[in-house]
């Protein structure tokens, strides 16, 4: 059973600052993901993604596009197009095509994503809050919850997001007893 596909893009923005590079890993018992992304500019990013599930291993070239950014005084909102194209271990064509939207302030985070893939559809919703406003030099902490619907599977995962400097870590444990560990760093 393929489960929880494509969680990497909710770890961070699929497009970051010009010339920004991002490495992300995602671990869950049923899914491991490794992603490298390079932002050509603040609107477009190119990358490579390796996704391993119980049933399938996919290697995809990715292209993401920032449709719209809303920059507020103390908030930010984004709408993205997500695409990926490649093949699985049987050399069959694989793809991702989706939309993602998020809004965040320094205290509240909300995001939603829907992705159509070669053999399944994914819906993922996230929300959370920061118990304190962290400055640039501080350890940032968020308490969050994620709802994922993938095929016939549904999961709710409370998790903690921590980030400091260029490194982000998320640790959670789902109601269906699936451990989650995500990491990301920018450079």
């Amino acid at each position: 059973m393929i489960l929880f596909l494509l969680s990497l893009n909710v770890l961070a923005h699929p497009v970051i600052f010009q010339d920004g590079k991002e490495i992300m890993t995602n671990y869950q018992p049923f899914l491991q993901e490794y992603n490298f992304m390079y932002s050509v500019n603040s609107k477009n990013s190119l990358g490579f993604k390796q996704m391993n599930t119980k049933d399938e291993k996919m290697s995809l070239l990715t292209y993401n596009h920032l449709f719209k950014r809303f920059n507020g005084n103390d908030s930010q909102g984004n709408i993205y197009l997500l695409t990926g194209m490649g093949s699985n271990e049987d050399s069959q064509f694989s793809y991702n095509l989706g939309l993602e939207a998020d809004w965040e302030s320094r205290r509240i985070y909300v995001s939603g994503k829907t992705v159509n893939m070669s053999h399944n559809n994914l819906l993922r919703l996230r929300t959370g809050f920061a118990p304190y406003k962290a400055s640039f030099e501080d350890l940032n902490m968020w308490l969050m919850v994620e709802y994922t619907s993938f095929g016939k599977n549904n999961e709710v995962t409370p998790f903690v997001r921590l980030y400091y400097d260029f490194l982000l870590i998320e640790v959670g444990y789902g109601l269906n007893k699936n451990f989650m560990l995500n990491t990301m760093f920018h450079f």
């Binding site: 961070a12 970051i16 010009q18 920059n71 507020g72 302030s105 962290a134 640039f136 940032n140 920018h186």
Partner: protein, 88 residues
Amino acid sequence: MKLVIVALFMVFSGFVFAKDYTVKVNGMVCSFCVQGIQKNLKKIEGLEKIDVSLETKLVKFSSEKEVPKDAVKKAIENAGYSVVEFVE
């Protein structure tokens, strides 16, 4: 006389006073935002002491050369953020 000597020293030593700049920016919510702005501003030659504050939403830096506002605006927009105004 002392003033003249100091003035002559500054002229012949190439000493130049750095000018401080302050820019108000919208859209910054986390440390990754700060990094993006810092990385893009560092591409502008001569910028020093770049300080980005999530609290005040102000980006401050100094330069011994005159820095074109357009270059600063472009750098911040390339990072994905909006320049509200240059604070004099």
